[in-house]
């Protein structure tokens, strides 16, 4: 079985990779591009640990074939901060102690980024429903939701003062 060549932009940089027909985007991110920040918790799109943003849309990278990202812009957790400056979501997750084991955190951060890109001022309920596809077994979600809402407020403030 011959491999397929795919070219995409990952975290702002052009990449090319070869993949088997059945390889998922998550497989390629982790095994070929060595971007192991995206995690596999289920492989069936139920836990959200592999959440990435493809052309502005939040996806479970375990449910997308690698070859499908030809020509796309892919954002992963490794591209969320700017250089050594954390994204406000990352900072707020630290400030609020919104992670315990940290395994679901990359996926939750990417899902939260997609939320705030789409809705800069979510209610608690909107944040809870948006993140319903991202399982966290450690925190009971309380501090995660607070961190997301706090980050949203800060980003709105940043936009106002910009």
């Amino acid at each position: 079985m011959s491999k397929q060549r795919t070219a995409a932009i990952v975290n702002g940089d052009p990449v090319e990779f070869l993949s088997d027909a059945g390889q998922t985007l998550l497989d390629v991110l982790r095994d070929e591009l060595h971007l192991t920040g995206s995690k596999e918790g289920c492989g069936s799109g139920d836990c959200g640990s592999c959440s990435v943003i493809v052309d502005g849309r939040l996806v479970c990278s375990c449910l997308m074939l690698a070859a499908e990202v030809e020509g796309c812009r892919v954002q992963t957790i490794e591209g969320l901060s700017t250089g050594s400056t954390l994204h406000p979501l990352q900072q707020k997750f630290l400030d609020h102690a919104a992670l315990q084991c940290g395994f679901c955190t990359p996926g939750i951060l990417m899902a939260s980024k997609a939320l705030l890109d789409a809705n800069p001022d979510p209610t608690e309920s909107e944040a809870r429903y948006w993140l319903a596809g991202n399982l966290c077994r450690c925190t009971g979600y309380d501090k995660i939701i607070k961190a997301v809402l706090d980050a949203a407020a800060e980003l709105r403030q940043d936009r106002k003062s910009a």
């Binding site: 060595h34 920040g37 995690k39 596999e40 957790i77 940290g102 979600y141």
Partner: protein
């Protein structure tokens, strides 16, 4: 510890303990750089996969691996024939003991397969696809046997027997007939008949709960690399890399010094990662192939072959006087152990009445093997199941007596000086204070609407101490390194750094805490039993205190004064004798910079077996609304109070409480292993095994009650496990008050609630 400092005396001057700094491993975890079990890649590494039983119970007639081994790209195939045949030896691993013979037969079936998904062979190949193909080429002939999964059916006469050599222990005499009941446990006190005789009212009730999984989001993962000289390295995500080392060495008859286990970050465990599944197999495959081997479970494998906790049936008979005084309690606990003996029923027996001062009781527990995955520890193992029955029985009694459920609990509450049902006399416990915290909480006065109900329940967990080793060293610039052997599962690096910083008198950002591998530090048992902040924390404090004493000695020598003329304050030695220290205080940095002149490097090790862990109590109140049309339960609000001793890092203490509550809510409402008639789990994925998601839950108000534990330098008690104990009962009781029906079988699924409401309506 030389002189335990009473927290109430030092509370005012604590500078670090009790604050909420950012965790030292936080940035790694929010940037995706933290390396978990599946994130390691080694050159020449193979992929290992497991062939699993398609039957719930069968005799293995033959296994033919020749075709699999002949497939190009396959480098090794193994079965239990490649592992030593072990005697029944017990190995202590923190909260749970393993029978090594059973454990060996669990990681790789021997003679029989005992549950659907039981490992029977494993392969190592150059790719995932080839490994999958190889599994299909392994030919196994089975003789299927009748199976049994339900705990009461497994106890019944005529049930299919899992182990021909299992004779019930604890009956007084050894039976002659094999049984699925491994052990009968019993705990009693007083005169049960007299106690019931003195009661004005007696309730007899029965509650059951389904098997549930710990549900850590990270599937089990490891890499093993066996070298030609027998020295091996294992990278593994676990709650205790020393226990992984011990179990691998014991199961494979290797020298402990030849097995170096390097802890990966752990993506959740909750008790379920205190044992081995993959590591011994990866080691055998690595030895046979001559390559490093990585093994990562799928989510389906996690459900089918690891964890879960016991399904249970709890019957309670409880009597009380009209004033609410409980006069007698009789509790019977039947626990599913899975394929091998060792359910947490012993702990369930001991915890079941731990909140109640009852003079007359008898508690019986049954450890029952079944054709389902061998249960593993899950957060306060056994206690939630027991509390479901006992707390609901107390609520039934209170309802019949017309007494407020909070008053009922206060009236019968254990206090300091009361002998716990499981033996010791309670000291420094904060149960009454925790009850009071809920009683006076604003939550209690929020009015309820139609179809809404409020449930109150209490819970107990022992908490443990145990063995830990800690190294603390001072760097040349006066910063510090704290090495422990305790995996950080939810923020313990932060609490370790904070306690060291407090003693050394420096900022927490100047302390770098690390989790060292098994070749880099002395033995430390698992992160489990709510022990790490207590026990490993105690070792950190003692090590830091030793260094302070050492630095005072160095300063005294430098100044030419007696050591009692030196005090340590704010990270520096100060001289009390006038004129002896013309340059002023000697800071940690100054002392570290000149350490070569005062005796060499500043470093120490403390290894201890921590005693005096303070038991923990929690009291929860939750409000629910039940949709009478659908039977769906919405959790409206939830408040959990807990005696935590002293919160070292309050945000992570709150997080433990909130996380435990969320798991308890899932256990109460949604989660269960559903088996087909063929004994196959039908919901082995997160779509059908429904753990709580963000939109299922309200904010969870964690109320920290601080009744210090004098055995810990800052008063800490374990906190991680107590919070999962009350929710099962709290939810069941809330649903009762919302609907008017008593629900006796968890989970409280919409269909069951609808059926109960319909039945009541007639």
């Amino acid at each position: 510890m030389n002189k335990p400092v009473k927290p109430e005396d030092t509370g005012a001057i604590l500078k670090v303990v009790g604050t909420r700094p950012i965790r030292p491993d936080g940035v790694e975890k929010v940037t995706g750089r933290a390396a978990y079990g599946a994130d390691l890649h080694l050159p020449g590494m193979l992929i290992g996969k497991i062939k699993r039983s398609p039957h719930a119970h069968a005799r293995i007639i033959s296994i033919d691996t020749r075709k699999a081994l002949a497939l190009p790209g396959v480098k090794a195939v193994m079965t239990s024939a490649d592992m030593p045949d072990l005697a029944a030896e017990h190995y202590e691993a923190g909260e749970s003991a393993s029978n090594l013979r059973d454990l060996s037969a669990n990681v790789m079936a021997r003679g029989k397969v005992l549950y659907h998904g039981h490992a029977i062979a494993a392969v190592a190949a150059t790719s995932n696809a080839i490994a999958d193909q190889a599994l299909d080429l392994i030919e196994i002939v089975y003789e299927t046997l009748p199976h049994v999964i339900d705990v009461e059916e497994a106890m019944a006469p005529g049930a299919p027997i899992l182990h021909d050599q299992m004779f019930t222990a604890g009956l007084g005499e050894t039976p002659t007939k094999a049984s699925n009941i491994a052990t009968k446990h019993r705990l009693d006190r007083g005169d049960l008949a007299a106690g019931f005789g003195a009661a004005d009212i007696i309730v007899e009730t029965r509650y059951s709960s389904a098997a549930v999984h710990q549900g850590y989001i990270e599937p089990h993962a490891c890499v093993a690399s066996y070298a030609a000289d027998g020295q091996t390295q294992v990278w593994s995500s676990s709650q205790g890399h020393f226990v992984i080392r011990g179990l691998c060495a014991k199961l494979l008859k290797m020298r402990f010094s030849d097995v170096r286990v390097i802890p990966a970050e752990i993506g959740g465990g909750f008790g379920g990662k205190t044992t081995v599944y993959l590591e011994p197999l990866a080691l055998v495959l690595s030895q046979k192939s001559g390559h490093p081997v990585k093994m990562v479970m799928t989510r389906e494998e996690v459900f089918r072959a690891t964890g879960p906790t016991s399904a249970s049936v709890v019957t309670v008979k409880m009597g009380a006087k009209l004033d609410g005084t409980i006069t007698a309690a009789q509790v019977d606990l039947k626990f599913q152990a899975g394929a091998f003996a060792g359910s947490p029923v012993g702990a369930a027996v001991m915890t079941s009445l731990a909140c109640y001062d009852v003079a007359n009781f008898e508690v019986t527990g049954w450890d029952v093997v079944t054709n389902s995955p061998k249960v593993a520890a899950y957060r306060a193992p056994g206690a939630p199941n027991a509390a479901l029955g006992v707390e609901c029985a107390v609520d039934e009694l209170a309802e019949k007596l017309g007494i407020d459920p909070m008053t009922m609990r206060e009236k019968n509450a254990v206090r300091n000086g009361v002998r716990a049902p499981y033996g010791p006399v309670y000291k420094n416990i904060g149960y009454v204070e925790t009850l009071e915290a809920i009683k006076s909480h604003p939550h209690m006065s929020i009015p309820l609407g139609p179809n809404q109900g409020r449930g109150i329940a209490a819970g107990f967990w022992f908490n443990i101490g145990g063995e830990s080793t800690v190294n603390v060293s001072i760097n040349e610039d006066g910063t510090a390194i704290v090495s422990t052997g305790s995996p950080d599962i939810g923020g313990s690096r932060a609490s370790m750094a904070m306690m060291a910083a407090e003693v050394l008198g420096i900022g927490v950002e100047q302390v770098r805490p690390i989790v060292a591998d098994t070749a880099s530090i002395g033995f430390s048992t698992v992160t489990g039993g709510s022990r790490t902040t207590f026990a490993t924390g105690m070792a950190v404090v003692q090590a830091a205190e030793k260094l302070v004493a050492d630095m005072k000695r160095r300063a005294a020598e430098t100044w030419g004064v007696e050591i009692d003329q030196v005090v340590w304050q704010d990270g520096a030695a100060h001289c009390l004798q006038a004129g002896k220290a013309p340059k002023g205080a000697l800071t940690l940095a100054a002392l570290a910079g000149s350490a070569g002149k005062t005796g060499g490097p500043i470093a120490t090790v403390v290894a201890l077996n921590a005693q005096g862990a303070g038991p923990g109590f929690g009291v929860h109140v939750c409000d629910v609304e039940v949709d009478p049309e659908t039977g769906h339960v919405t959790v409206l609000r939830y408040t959990a109070a807990q005696d935590v001793g002293k919160a070292i890092h309050p945000a992570y203490v709150e997080g433990q409480i909130q996380g435990g509550v969320a798991q308890g809510i899932g256990w109460a409402l949604n989660e269960e292993y559903v088996f087909s008639t063929g004994g196959i789990m039908e919901n082995a994925g997160f779509l059908d095994y429904r753990v709580p998601v963000a939109s299922d839950l309200p904010m969870i108000d964690a109320v920290m009650v601080e009744v210090p534990n004098p055995a810990h330098p800052y008063g800490a008690k374990g906190v991680g496990e107590v919070p999962i104990v009350p929710p099962l009962a709290a939810l069941a009781i809330a649903v009762r008050h919302a609907t008017g029906v008593r629900m006796h079988d968890l989970p409280l699924s919409p269909s069951k609630i609808r059926a109960a409401i319909d039945a009541k309506a007639g």
